[in-house]
Amino acid sequence: MKKASTTAAAMAVLAGITGYMITGCSPAGSTTPAKDAAPVAREEFDKAMQTPTKLTFWTWLPDVDQEVALFEKKYPQIDVTVENVGQGGEHYQKVRTALKSGEGAPDVIQVEYQYISSFNLTDSLLDLRRYGADDIKDDYVGWAWNQVSDDKGVWAIPQDVGPMGNLYRKDLMEKAGLTKAPATYQEYADAAKAVKEKTGAYISNLPTNDPAQVVGLLWQAGVKPFGYDGDKTVSIDVNSAKAKEVLGYWQDLIQKDLVSVDADFNDQYYQGLASDKYAGWLTAAWAPIFLQGTAADTAGKWNAAPLPQWEAGQNVSGNWGGSSDAVLKTTKNPIAAAELAKFINHDDESTAMFANKQFLFPAAKSVLEDPAFTGKKVDFFGGQEVNKLFAGIADTVDTDFQWLPFTDFAYSSFNEKVGTVIGAKGDLGAALDAWQADLEGYAKDQGFTVK
């Protein structure tokens, strides 16, 4: 009995510590709209940048030190500490915890587009308009700018994007008698059949655990599954007719065993990419580099093309991934912090470095239009100018796409309600209904008005 109660207590300790970290203190700062705040004056800016200042920057981007070094070279008084506190979910949890505890929060954070509204919900991001963000608006692809801004403010500076295309194994396609990439989804389905029959490979994989990819495909089809007004109202429409049509298409391919349903980004999956299991991947602009690392043995056999289209003659794409840099409202040095977010994502040398050294797919037009970037011939893709192709695709991404302010839950719920059904090769239309119900239930439970 004693042991048992100790354990019960121990359990609660865990919960307690967790609880303490999460709700120990109420969110700092109430809503103070910075509307019509005057832009920072030149003298004020110069003074801030010449005052010795320490900034903390939380990002998981490897080797970001080199871009930060450029910033520090230009502003020698500013000392930036780069910290990697984890990637994705872990990163956001720590940011949230730091914000709620009221101390230890960094000045600048990396944030993926789908998480910006989650941080706006808690009023945690600094509106960058006062710091000159509006002036550089036109230097980025339009839809990426839409991702970081709304009518209430500019919340981050785009760093990289993931416009989606079709990476495929040219050799396997040719074996199946296909000389060019399928232009429409109808052709894609036919190709899937031919590839499976002739080579035994799956034309692609629809993972059981990757809401971001599925959302990217919905994005391409013009589905608007999410919406958030920045206040209390969300719109949730993941089971629209159009969404069901898209997933119905994939369900058909899955049930005919023409598309595999493996979880992605684990060893099993990498092995599938490196062997001849998959003949292609509908993926994002960051994937060409990723593939060169994971499937090095298949070098030269790949090719890149735009996504298949739902209707012949169309040319639209979706986005999968990409990040931006935002400034937390709690920062004591907003001018320097905003300048850091702007500088590394706007300075020509820095953005070129992101694109050519870290292989981020740029959101900045200056790089997208730079022949040194687009003209690069990639051996892995048989000498194709892959960057040029994706730079073209970047212009075709549907411009208006919103997110829910609780992406963690939305994605986790996707895995529960839709991912499991993908794995079981079941009815994806019903799965979307279940996802919709789960999201609506959560939103209402959390006090949102669901439109």
Partner: protein
């Protein structure tokens, strides 16, 4: 255990009545010695426990903030299919895995204790070794072994021309997890039992041998009853460990996402509630309830064994 020391102290009392001054000093010293423990115990256990209990009485919303909810979180949990499903799954785990694991551990302990195994010391170490492997590493390792394309099991089956078994499907993942846990903890439980076996006075064996008892009879009628408290201890440990499973589902989730649901084990569920759903208050309620479930089951097990012991004693002439 506390109840055992109390009568002993009382019994020692009268003898020292005369030297009451020195006794008082000793008492004071004793309290001084236990004080550091109680300070840490209070700071790290009692306070957070109270805080978690307090949290579990509130409801926090992303819009609207915190509000008092009374026992609403508990009521919700008791009809939450994810929580109940997790508890049910762990109960099944308990009924299947724990007997197997403890049975194997007992068998190994008896075998080593019989002294008929050559290289007993080395074997003892070998059996114990998996316990030295951190649970996280063990799960990652087994995750690799279970792999459907590259895992050694799959390759053996494929080279024999058979389809590779899927250890990570929604139907089989619980069994695969039982295997990991068994592998990890057999040695640990064996050591506890083995240590207890070494403590049995050898005269008992000699007497039994003179009476002509076989090794099997000795094991069944002397050894196992003698180490009963140790066995009960391992049972209680196993019950607690089972309901607290977290590493295994959390790590297998990345390789078998469609098999591991958010509520696969209650602990994993509480974690997901707190960090994914951002609902710490409900997570606290779940953790409290889980603690309650563990306490009740452990208590029932202990009560049963005590009753059985009493019955046994009565039946003895």
């Amino acid at each position: 255990m506390a109840s055992n020391t109390l009568p002993a102290a009382k019994a020692a009392g009268p003898r020292r009545r005369r030297a009451s001054a020195s006794r008082r000093t000793q008492t004071r010293a004793a309290y001084l010695f236990v004080l550091p423990f109680f300070l840490v115990f209070a700071a790290m256990l009692i306070v957070p426990l109270g805080y978690a209990g307090y949290l579990s009485l509130f409801k926090s919303q992303l819009i609207g903030g915190l509000s008092f909810a009374g026992l609403a979180n508990y009521a919700e949990a008791l009809s939450d299919p994810d929580f109940l499903g997790g508890v049910g799954r762990m109960s099944l785990f308990l009924l299947v895995q724990v007997p197997i694991m403890l049975g194997v551990a007992l068998f190994l302990a008896l075998a080593l204790d019989s002294g008929r195994v050559r290289g007993g010391k080395a074997l003892r170490l070998l059996y114990f070794m998996p316990y030295a492997v951190p649970g996280v590493v063990a799960t990652l390792m087994w995750g690799y072994l279970y792999g459907r394309d590259f895992g050694p099991f799959a390759q053996i089956f494929q080279s024999l021309g058979m389809g590779a078994p899927d250890f990570l499907s929604p139907q089989s993942v619980l069994g695969s997890m039982m295997n990991i846990v068994t592998w990890e903890f057999v040695g640990y439980n064996m050591i506890i039992m083995y240590a207890a076996l070494r403590g049995i006075p050898s005269e008992l064996y000699e007497a039994a041998e003179i009476d002509g008892a076989s090794q099997f009879r000795i094991a069944w009628n002397i050894k196992i009853p003698a180490i009963r408290p140790a066995i009960i201890l391992t049972v209680i440990f196993s019950i607690i460990g089972t309901f607290q499973l977290f590493n295994e589902p959390s790590l297998l989730d990345s390789i078998a996402p469609d098999a591991i649901t958010n509520g696969f084990t209650p602990n994993f569920y509480a974690y997901n509630l707190a960090f994914v759903n951002q609902d710490v208050n409900y997570a606290a309620a779940i953790a409290f309830l889980l603690g309650g479930v563990i306490a009740v089951i452990s208590y029932v097990v202990q009560l049963q064994t005590q009753r059985a012991e009493r019955k046994q004693r009565k039946s003895m002439p």
